[in-house]
């Protein structure tokens, strides 16, 4: 490939932003992205494998799945992308591609609809993708005790769980930092464990 020598180390990374429909994923992405969130569409032209409610998709259906994403330039040669997952979790075929190679995921939660994120958490645990849970505080109201939420979600004690305001740049930034710190700490623990 004839790429110029000075950009040979150019690379990118991504973080996945997951959560139920309408929980504020695109708002969160938009609060830190240097571009207005863009939407990319994937077309599914046949039924995907391992989808529970496959029968809801008629045969030979053409389904368009939309994902919103944003971009943060970390350095000239390193770009971080934030990809929001499709709202409906039945489009698991797209999730495979979304999580492949990702640093980790942020599960954005609305305490009024906690059950919306159960399947998402299951998916990340199954894929061994590091994730944290960010509770979106609408209008700054912290309605529940974090420990109650942790119990309800049945997530292990090491998974970071925090409040956030998806509209607030600083708040979103702290969530992203927390996730990367968590992934780094997991790596260090693993290295120590081996050595």
């Amino acid at each position: 490939m004839n790429s110029p020598a000075d950009t040979s180390r150019v690379t990118s990374a991504k973080i996945v932003i997951a959560g139920g429909f309408g929980v504020g994923k695109t708002t969160l992405v938009g609060s830190v992205s240097e571009i207005t969130p863009l939407t990319t569409e994937a077309i599914m032209t046949s039924a995907s494998e391992g989808v529970d409610d496959n029968n809801l998709v008629p045969d030979k259906a053409t389904t368009t799945v939309a994902m919103d994403f944003g971009r943060i330039t970390i350095d000239q040669d390193l770009i971080l992308y934030l990809f929001g997952t499709p709202g409906q979790t039945r489009f698991w075929f797209m999730w495979d591609e979304l999580v492949r190679g990702a640093i980790g995921a942020i599960v954005l939660v609305d305490t009024r609809r906690l059950a919306d994120c159960f399947s998402v958490i299951d998916f990340f645990e199954h894929r061994k993708l590091p994730y944290l849970v960010a509770v979106n505080c609408f209008d700054g109201k912290q309605l529940h005790d974090l420990q109650d939420i942790r119990d309800a979600l049945q997530i292990s004690p090491e998974v970071p769980l925090l409040y956030t305001d998806a509209r607030n740049r600083e708040s979103t930034k702290q969530v992203l930092i927390k996730l990367v710190e968590y992934v780094l700490s997991m790596r260090r623990t693993r290295t120590v464990g081996v050595g």
Partner: protein
């Protein structure tokens, strides 16, 4: 594709028409892979269709990911992937692979160094 015969397919205007019906790219390109126009691409001599010109212009300035190309061209991801892969094979574009983290074969030290750079970049925001 499972589109039937010459029947209209609803709201979609045959998105794969620009790839002449091909849905399989010559090269697997990740969503977040960065794409850059090469000198050969910039020369403009070897460009095929209108889409190629758009992509060359789009990726001639700052780097764009495959997802951005698809979004800005308003074509489905799969279409952008076929177009970009063809152009990369013709030397018109360079594709920079992302650093993968969940891959078991990934180099741990490379990943850790990159994570540290991401972390300091986020703190600077």
């Amino acid at each position: 594709m499972v589109l039937g015969g010459d029947e209209p397919t609803g709201s979609l205007v045959r998105p794969y028409a620009v790839t002449r019906g091909r849905t399989r790219p010559q090269l697997e390109i990740a969503l977040e892979a960065l794409v850059e126009t090469t000198a050969r691409g910039r020369s403009g001599q070897f460009l095929g269709g209108r889409e190629q010109k758009v992509i060359v212009d789009l990726c001639g300035g700052r780097l764009q990911s495959l997802a951005e190309i698809a979004a800005r061209m308003e074509v489905p991801l799969g279409v952008a992937r076929v177009l970009v892969a063809d152009m990369a094979a013709d030397g018109l574009l360079a594709v920079h692979a992302p650093t993968g983290f969940s891959d078991d074969h990934a180099d741990e030290s490379v990943g850790t160094e990159l994570l540290e750079r991401v972390l300091s970049g986020l703190r600077r925001l």
